[in-house]
């Protein structure tokens, strides 16, 4: 009897040991894909790897063996190839667990069921999410659901080449006061036209290099629409808005810039490397770009005295109807729909940990982006970085974003088509607007408000 009971106990004990090992030794592979990323953006994926390490350690303390393998990929041809890759993988049921992508993808991808809301897994009132800037969190949500967590923040400033500005008559004090004047609406896009023309006429910069805009479609141009009083989304109904007057004024600004000889008619499509080289070393009087350009100007382009040579501000207002503004277009971490809930849960946990101020700061400083949490200003690496702290202070409070709307892609394409046609002189702004209006009416139908 005794032997049987001992045997029973031994069996039971080994069964328990076996069952615990079987239950807790968990191996899981989490794939992370980051769009629009180059070497300096490596922390978009490395942060997840660091998070995996922390999560495994947390679980080990609880007695669970969790082995997470992180697979990283960021080599996609460009944004469109990245988006195609993600959607096709999702259709085939092989979506990467975590994607770092544009917040504009949330609307279509959530509708398609490719992604799952991160709020299903994370407590939004807990650390570190409760420390993330509210406006950034809002950008990562759609239709009242928190789909993702902002991965970084950025903003798109207007730049002035200081030396050129002083040669056309601005004192050092004037140049220092420019950002405030821009913000107050005292220095407008009309002044940009005048000053850039001066720079060209005085031979300080070549013809066509007075004002040097972005050379391809992007969120940047919506800023100029806002500068002239345009509105992207009607807050009451959530519908997209085409303000014909503001759009015409904005097209006209680029047409005027070409006519004045300060912007090249065939500027669109300028090679990226050439573009950076031109703006970073004084070949251009004024231009607009992004906060992450800082890294490129001071790094690859070899500008060793950024603050001594370049002034930055909000995008100036166009007229009284609009005001100085900037758009932030943060990337967001999204988790994709997987066969098992467990993979989604772990992915969400990893994103949560990767959003820790200290970890996010690594990305912010390495890639010249802005932080996502308030506490980053208390982290030495962040606060001691002049660019990050000044850009955060000067730009981020005024930053708006493009709306997460299912049809925003079509809207932005049409806006760009019209701008391209007016800019290159193929159509007048009035003709272009007429076509944009017809096109948007046909595609968006009820989802568009025309003013």
């Amino acid at each position: 009897m005794m032997t049987i009971s001992i045997l029973k106990k031994a069996l039971l004990a080994s069964a328990i040991v076996l069952s615990t090992t079987a239950a807790y030794a968990e191996d899981i592979t989490i794939t992370v894909w980051a769009g629009g990323s180059n070497a300096s953006d490596s922390y978009r994926m490395d942060a997840i790897e660091m998070a995996a390490d922390i999560l495994s350690k947390e679980q080990a303390i609880l007695g669970n063996e969790l082995n997470i393998t992180i697979e990283k990929k960021r080599d996609f041809g460009g944004w469109s190839e990245f988006k195609q890759a993600v959607t096709l993988a999702a259709e085939a049921g092989k979506a990467p667990n975590i994607v770092a992508t544009s917040h504009l993808d949330i609307a279509p991808w959530s509708e398609a069921g490719y992604i799952v809301p991160i709020e299903d897994y994370l407590d939004l009132d807990a650390w570190p999410i409760n420390n993330i800037y509210d406006n950034l969190l809002k950008i990562a949500s759609f239709d009242g659901v928190q789909w993702g967590i902002p991965q970084d923040a950025e903003s798109r400033p207007f730049f002035f080449w200081k030396e050129t500005m002083s040669k056309i008559g601005y004192s050092d004090a004037d140049i220092e006061a420019l950002p405030a004047k821009v913000q107050a609406g005292e220095y407008t896009l009309a002044n940009v036209l005048v000053d850039a023309k001066k720079a060209v006429d005085m031979g300080l910069v070549e013809k066509g290099y007075g004002f040097y805009p972005r050379a391809s479609n992007g969120p940047d141009f919506a800023q100029f629409y806002l500068s002239y009083g345009g509105v992207l989304q009607d807050p009451a109904t959530g519908k997209l808005v085409l303000d014909k007057k503001a759009m015409t004024d904005m097209y006209q600004f680029f047409v005027d810039a070409v006519a004045a000889g300060i912007t090249r008619k065939n500027h669109i499509g300028t090679d990226g490397s050439q573009w950076y080289a031109d703006v970073a070393n004084g070949k251009v009087a004024m231009w607009h770009g992004g906060t992450w350009h800082y890294g490129r100007y001071t790094g690859k382009e070899g500008n060793n005295d950024f603050f001594g040579t370049i002034q930055f501000s909000l995008i100036p207002a166009g007229n009284e109807a609009g005001k100085a503004n900037t758009i932030t277009h943060p990337l967001v971490y999204l988790i994709t729909n997987q066969e098992t809930d467990r993979a989604e849960e772990i992915a969400a946990q990893l994103i949560n940990i990767a959003s820790e101020p200290r970890i996010n700061t690594l990305h912010a400083i390495k890639s010249s982006h802005l932080g996502i949490t308030k506490q980053q200003s208390n982290i030495e690496l962040y606060s001691s970085n002049r660019w990050a702290s000044e850009a955060t202070e000067r730009l981020l409070p005024h930053a708006s974003s493009q709306p997460n709307h299912l049809q925003y892609g079509a809207f932005s394409e049409a806006l760009w088509k019209g701008l391209e046609a007016s800019w290159t002189g193929v159509q007048t702004p009035a003709e272009a607007i007429k076509e944009v209006e017809a096109e948007l009416k046909a595609i968006l139908g009820d989802e568009l408000i025309i003013r």
Partner: protein, 433 residues
């Protein structure tokens, strides 16, 4: 079946498979897609049922009555008996009792608020986020933001939610996230102002490039025919280069040639011409470059075919013509060109069809610019279906553009067959009849 040749089928099989997989299937699928509302947001493989704020807004626009709308919008989370009972079952009676004490009949519009209510439990804390989220679901009344895999499940849910039966149809249609059959793409195709422009651009592109292709191909074939054999093959080899270079490389060379910092601009600046971008300065520049890029690429094919066709002309005819005193021009006009009728037909129809659908050189060079001036139909189809900064790719509309191209291609082929009197040309030679 006795005469059925299995061996022949075996030999043909690889070709049949390739044709089916790479040609027939894409064409048929494109045809099918063109009558759907397929886009990134609908997905390709099917849909589910989901009501979100955008959906509610669309329902309001479609005239759903306000009472039902409010019902859908405001259901939210309610701390009711059913929920409390479920909570008691999962987390114990004490938890449920405390919850009742704190929030009985409490209504919360969002899940976050519901979770906050659960967090306010003091004596019976639900500590894990996961458990708290699951507990919040016990009080859920709202249908918003929940995905239902099938229509019947969704219908059951709205019935349980007390939505009047007469509104079900409208709500179910709106909630479906997948693609539906539709002819809207065709309507859109005819109503978009850009359609006409793309059609016009395509006409310019195909006509000019074709003229260049055939004309230049003929010129090369005939001129090299009269050259000594060795230099003739050198010339042909040079003109064959565009075809054997990788397209990206080939277009890059054109870019170096035409950019405002490129070869042409630099050379001309020596004689005082201000540098311009010779590819993108105006739409005329763009068209000239696009035609030259595609034309030089295409001319080599014509050159090879025409050259071999000329060589097939019995030399006795040419000698005889020289004896009769014909000059080179007369030889070309009366002997060579008539013999080249068949290869010219072939190249014309082949190139028309391939030009209609090829856009890679334009994509790599002007990308349709400046201001969409060189955006041809096939490039537009690509942009609509596969390239959109905002993320919502319009597969269905893009497919409709592509199908229109197939139809135009077929009409063009029929026209060529008739125009060149194809039947007569392939008729059996009378001499062997």
């Amino acid at each position: 079946m006795k005469n059925f040749n299995w061996l022949a089928l075996g030999f043909l099989a690889p070709a049949l498979i390739v044709i089916t997989v790479f040609f027939l299937a894409p064409v048929i699928l494109t045809g099918i897609f063109s009558f759907t509302s397929m886009s990134t947001s609908t997905g390709v493989t099917g849909g589910e049922y989901l009501l979100n704020q955008s959906g509610i807004r669309a329902l309001a626009d479609k005239g759903l009555n306000t009472a039902t709308l409010d019902q859908l919008k405001n259901a939210g989370y309610v701390v009711d008996e059913k929920g409390l009972a479920a909570l008691a079952e999962r987390h114990g009676v004490a938890t449920a009792t405390e919850m009742r004490k704190l929030h009985e009949n409490g209504q919360f519009s969002s899940r976050r608020d519901m979770e906050r209510a659960l967090k306010s439990l003091k004596a019976n804390k639900i500590r894990s986020t996961k458990d708290r989220k699951a507990a919040a679901e016990l009080f859920k009344h709202s249908l918003l933001n929940e995905r239902f895999p099938t229509e019947s499940k969704f219908r059951t849910a709205i019935t349980e939610g007390g939505i009047p039966l007469e509104d079900h149809e409208l709500i179910v249609t709106q909630a479906y996230t997948g693609w539906v059959w539709t002819v809207d793409n065709v309507k859109l195709l005819f109503s978009l102002p850009s359609t006409l422009r793309y059609a016009g651009n395509t006409l310019i592109y195909v006509t000019l490039t074709l003229m260049f292709n055939i004309g230049f191909g003929l010129f090369l074939a005939i001129s090299t025919f009269y050259l000594p054999a060795k230099s003739a093959s050198t010339f042909r080899a040079i003109w064959f280069l565009p075809r054997i270079l990788p397209p990206v490389m080939y277009v890059l060379l054109w870019k170096w040639l035409t950019w405002d910092t490129g070869f042409i601009a630099t050379t001309l600046s020596w004689i005082g011409v201000a540098p311009i971008n010779w590819m993108l300065d105006t739409s005329t520049h763009a068209w000239v470059v696009v035609v030259l890029i595609n034309g030089s690429f295409g001319a080599s094919l014509g050159m090879i075919l025409f050259s071999s066709a000329i060589k097939a002309i019995p030399s006795s005819i040419l000698y005889a013509s020289e004896v009769d005193g014909a000059n080179r021009w007369q030889q070309v006009r009366y002997i060579i060109l008539p013999h080249l009728r068949w290869p010219i037909l072939f190249i014309t129809s082949y190139q028309t069809l391939s030009l209609l659908t090829s856009f890679e050189h334009i994509l790599l060079s002007t990308e349709g610019g400046p201001g969409r001036a060189t955006e041809v139909w096939s490039l537009a189809a690509y942009h609509i279906a596969l390239d959109n900064y905002g993320g919502n790719l319009q597969y269905g509309l893009g497919a409709t553009f592509a199908v229109a191209l197939v139809i135009i291609g077929i009409i063009a082929s029929l026209f060529y067959l008739r125009f060149f009197n194809f039947n007569e040309m392939v008729a059996k030679p009378k001499i062997e009849g």
